[in-house]
Symmetry: C2
Subunit: 495 residues, 2 copies
C-alpha cells in the first residue's frame, strides 16, 4: 500500500507501510512503529530509542490505569536514585552475577574518578532494600508497598527492536515487604492478575500465566511468575513478571522487624515489573497492512473527525461548526475525539494517515451529511461503515468503540489459541517449533538437562509452567527423556 | 518540642523536631524533611536522595497540575534516552563547557569499554535536538511543543540539601521549536507565568520574575528568564527557568524547515524546567516548630480524621462509623481525607504526628461529638478550632482549607516583601547582605565587572533583572561603580 504525499508536501514520500505484515513481519513492524510516530531511533547507541508523543500517550493510559489500581490497594509511589554503587549491587551475589554483564558503569563524575563505580540501574532491588532497612521497625510498618515509575538500562547484546527489546526502557517496578511468606505470595499473584487485566482488558490480547523454571527465574528470586504473549511470527514475548523474593534480599540487607510477639524477624519480599513492551505487543498483534490498530481503551485519540470540505465557502463553515459540536458531545461522554481540519490535505490523504496511525474510529462529515443530519462512522478494525442520526453520535461512538475493543480481543484470542500445539514426541516438538513456532504444550521431568537440550536443539525454552496442572501429570512422561513428568509446560522461542 | 514515643513502640525515640526553626534553620529543615518522611538519604553517594511517598505525592500533585495545563496549550509528552554520547553533548560548545565539570560519565557497558563515552543526562537539549531534526520538515510541523518528565544528574560540588540541591533531581524539561523568534519569546513568557502560578496558587509563596544577567544565563541560551523565591535565612532560591535558545542549537544541529514561501529556515527554540525544589521551598517557607505545613492544594492528605475512642466498645464502633461517613462525604466533595484508626496510639500522639507531617486540617471525633452531632476541626496553620454541625462538615472543610491556603499565602507574601531592601550605597548593599540577607534592589551599569565585584565581596549575585524597569533608570547610577545605570536589579545570596 503505497500512499503518495499530500498535494503540498514539497516532495513525494512514502507515507504508508510498504510491506505486507505476513510477508515480512520484522520490516512491517519497524515501519509501523516509525511511520505511526510511536518511536524513533536515537543517537545514544545500540538499542536506545526515543518514544514520541503518539507512543508516550499510550504509555500514559497504561500507567494511569495501573497506577490507580495499585493505589486502591494501598501501594504508594516513590523515587530512588538512577545510580547504584557497585558495593550495593554486589550484596546479593546471584543477582549481581546475573545483571553484571549488561550494566552500564559510571566511572567518573566530572573529572574525578570514582572509587566505588556506580551502576546505571538495571533494576532497583538493591538500592531500595538498602533504603527501606531504616524505614521498617515493627510489624506496624508492614506491609510496605512501594512502586516506582522510572527507566532501567541493560546493555543489549541480542538484536534490538523498538519497545520489544531496547537498551533503556520505561517500566514500573513494585517492591513490597511483608510480615509473612503467605502474604508475599498473595501479593505476587494479585499483581500478576492485575497485569493480566492490562493485557486482556486494555491491550486486548491474551496471555499465558504461570511460573518460570528455576533456570529462567529472576536472579535472586525464590520463584518468578510470568505473563507470556504470542506474536504473529510464532515467538513468545514476556509481558511482565512478579517475583517472590522470599528472604533472599532481606537477609543480606538486614531488613528485620519486631513481630507482634516481640521477636525480630526478616521480612518477606516481592518485586514486579511491566514495561512499554505492552505497546510493542499491541502493534504486533493488532496491526494490519495499513499500519497500526490501537485498541480503543489505549487509544490517545479514539475518534478522528474529518470534515469533507468543498469550495463552497458557506457550507465549509457549517461543516466545521458541526464537527466541533460533535467533538464537544463526544468529549462530554468521555470519548477522546480530535478534528483534523488541516487545509491542503485531501480527505482521502487524511483517511490513510489516520488509518496508519491506528485511530479506532473515524467520522466523515460533509455538506450532504449536514443536510440529512447524519454522521458517518468508519471502523479502523474492519472498515465497516455505520450511518447514524446526529443525535445518536455520542451513544453510537461509545457502542462502536466497545465493539472494536471486543472484536480485537476475539481475533487475538483465536490467534492465540491456534498457536498452542500439543505434541506426542520430542521429534514432533522440534518440528513444530521449527516449522510454525507458537507454544508447544508438553510434559517435562523438571530437570534443567532436558530444558537445555530443547533450548540447544530448537532455541525454545520453557516460557511458563501453568499454575493449574492437569490430573494426568502423574502418569505422563517427559517429552525429552521419557522419565516421569513433573509438570505440563509451554515451550516456545521468544523475543 | 520533644514528643515521646507511643505507648507501644518498643523503644523511646524522638519523633518531633528537636530544634526551633529560627534557632537553626538548616538542622530544622533536615529534621523536618526526614521526620515527615518526605525524603531520605541514599547510599548512592554525595547529594543523592530518595523521595519517599509523602514527598512523591506532593510531586504528583505539582505534576498533574502542570501537565494538564501545558496539554491545554498543545504540548505533548515524550521520552528521550538517559545516556547522551559525548560527541552530541559537545555540539554546542558553550553548553558543553558549562555542563562538563558536573557530568557523570559512563565508560563501560558490561565488560566492554565504550569508544564514545556516554553522559548521564545533565539536561536533554542535545539529545532532543538531534532527534527532532528528522521530525521537522515544513512550517506545518511547527510549533513542535515537547515536554519530558524525567530526572537529571549533576555531580554537586557545593554542599547538598534534600530537594534544594541534590545530585539527581526529578523535574520536567520542555523543549519547543517555532517558526519565528517572536513566537519562541512568547512561549518563554507563557511558561514562566505558568510556573509562577504553581508557586503562587499551589505552593502559596511569591516569587520574583525577570531575566538573568548574561553571566548567570543558561549555557547556550540567548537569554534566560527566572523565578526567585526567598528562604527564611535570607538566601534566594531559583525555582525554575525558561530559556530563549534562539537559533543557538538549531544551527549546529541543523534543524531547518521549509517556510510558507518555500525558503529553508532554522527554527527558533525554547527550553524550560522546574523541579522538586518546589517541595523544598514550601517546607522552608511554611514550616514551623512543630514541623511541616503543607498548603492544602499540594497536600496529599488534606484532612485527617482522628477517632477519639474510649474503652466502651459500643461507642467506639459508632465513632468509627461516623468517621467513615464523614470521610465518604469529604471525598465526594473532592477533599482528600484519611482516617487514622490505628490502635495503641493515643489521640494526642496522633495529633503530634499529623501536625509534624503538615496535614492542613484535622477532625477530632469522640462520643460526645457524636451525641451533639458536631464535628471539631483544628487548623494546622494557626491551631484554631471550629465546631460545626455534622451536616456542614463537607462545606466547612472546603471553606477552612481555602482559608488555610489563603493564610499561608498572605504570611509568605508579607515575609517576602519585607525581605526586599532598597539601598543607596555599595557599603549599605554589603552591609544588608551580610547582616540580614534578602534581596537588595539597586541599580547596575550592566558590566560583568561590577557583578563579579559584588559576588566576590558578599557572595551575592544578580538573581533577576525585572521585566518592568522603573522610569528613573536613565538618571540613576550603578551601585558599584557609579557609572550610568542600565537596569534595576535584585542582588541576593542563593542556595
Amino acid at each position: 500500500m503505497q500512499v503518495t504525499s499530500g498535494p503540498d508536501r514539497g516532495q513525494k514520500e512514502s507515507l504508508g507501510i510498504t510491506v505486507r505484515k505476513k510477508d515480512d513481519l520484522s520490516e512491517w513492524y519497524t515501519q509501523t512503529v516509525l511511520k505511526a510516530e510511536l518511536a524513533d531511533y536515537s543517537s545514544s547507541g545500540k538499542g536506545f530509542m526515543v518514544i514520541r508523543p503518539n507512543g508516550y500517550e499510550i504509555w500514559e493510559l497504561i500507567r494511569d490505569f495501573f497506577d490507580s489500581e495499585i493505589k486502591k490497594t494501598g501501594h504508594r509511589n516513590a523515587y530512588f536514585p538512577t545510580l547504584i554503587p557497585k558495593s550495593l549491587l554486589e550484596k546479593e551475589s546471584e543477582h549481581f552475577a546475573g545483571f553484571n554483564p549488561e550494566v552500564f558503569w559510571v566511572s567518573k563524575a566530572g573529572a574525578d574518578e570514582l572509587a566505588d563505580p556506580l551502576a546505571v540501574r538495571p533494576t532497583s532491588e538493591t538500592i531500595i532494600h538498602d533504603a527501606i532497612r531504616n524505614w521498617i521497625r515493627s510489624w506496624r510498618d508492614l506491609p510496605l508497598l512501594l512502586n516506582v515509575w522510572n527507566s532501567v538500562l541493560r546493555a543489549e547484546i541480542k538484536s534490538t527492536k523498538p519497545f520489544l527489546r531496547s537498551t533503556e526502557f520505561l517500566w514500573q517496578e513494585g517492591h513490597t515487604s511483608h510480615s509473612t511468606e503467605e502474604e508475599a505470595a498473595k501479593e505476587v499473584m494479585d499483581i500478576l492478575i492485575l497485569y493480566k487485566r492490562i493485557m486482556e482488558e486494555l491491550a486486548a490480547f491474551p496471555v499465558l500465566i504461570g511460573k518460570k523454571s528455576d533456570r529462567e527465574k529472576f536472579v535472586g528470586a525464590v520463584y518468578t511468575t510470568t505473563l507470556e504473549a504470542m506474536m504473529p511470527d510464532g515467538k513468545a514475548l514476556q509481558m511482565g513478571t512478579s517475583h517472590q523474593l522470599g528472604q533472599n534480599f532481606s537477609k543480606p540487607f538486614e531488613i528485620r522487624f519486631l513481630g507482634e510477639n516481640g521477636e525480630m524477624r526478616y521480612v518477606w519480599q516481592t518485586s514486579w515489573g511491566t514495561s512499554w513492551r505492552i505497546i510493542g505487543s499491541l502493534v504486533m498483534i493488532h496491526g494490519d497492512d495499513k499500519g497500526l490498530v490501537v485498541p480503543p481503551r489505549l487509544a490517545p485519540v479514539q475518534v478522528v473527525i474529518i470534515p469533507i470540505l468543498f469550495s463552497k465557502k458557506g457550507s465549509a463553515e457549517k461543516v466545521l461548526q458541526r464537527c466541533s459540536e460533535i467533538q464537544g458531545v463526544l468529549q462530554k461522554t468521555g470519548v477522546r475525539a480530535q478534528i483534523d481540519s488541516r487545509e491542503n490535505y485531501t480527505p482521502g490523504w487524511k483517511f490513510n494517515e489516520w488509518e496508519m496511525k491506528g485511530v479506532p474510529l473515524r467520522i466523515e462529515l460533509g455538506p450532504r451529511d449536514l443536510e440529512k443530519d447524519v454522521v458517518v462512522f468508519v471502523r479502523r478494525d474492519n472498515g465497516s461503515k455505520t450511518i447514524l442520526p446526529v443525535g445518536e453520535a455520542s451513544a453510537g461512538a461509545v457502542e462502536l468503540l466497545s465493539q472494536i475493543q471486543e472484536n480485537l480481543w476475539s481475533k487475538a484470542k483465536e490467534q492465540f489459541e491456534s498457536s498452542i500445539h500439543d505434541v506426542s514426541s520430542y521429534a514432533e516438538l522440534v518440528g513444530v517449533i521449527e516449522r510454525t513456532g507458537g507454544f508447544v504444550r508438553s510434559f517435562w521431568c523438571g530437570s534443567p538437562k532436558c530444558e537445555i537440550d530443547v533450548k540447544e536443539k530448537t532455541g525454545a525454552d520453557i516460557r511458563a509452567i501453568p499454575f493449574d496442572q492437569p490430573d494426568n501429570v502423574g502418569e505422563s512422561k517427559c517429552i525429552v527423556c521419557g522419565e516421569p513428568a513433573k509438570n505440563l509446560v509451554y515451550f516456545a522461542r521468544a523475543y
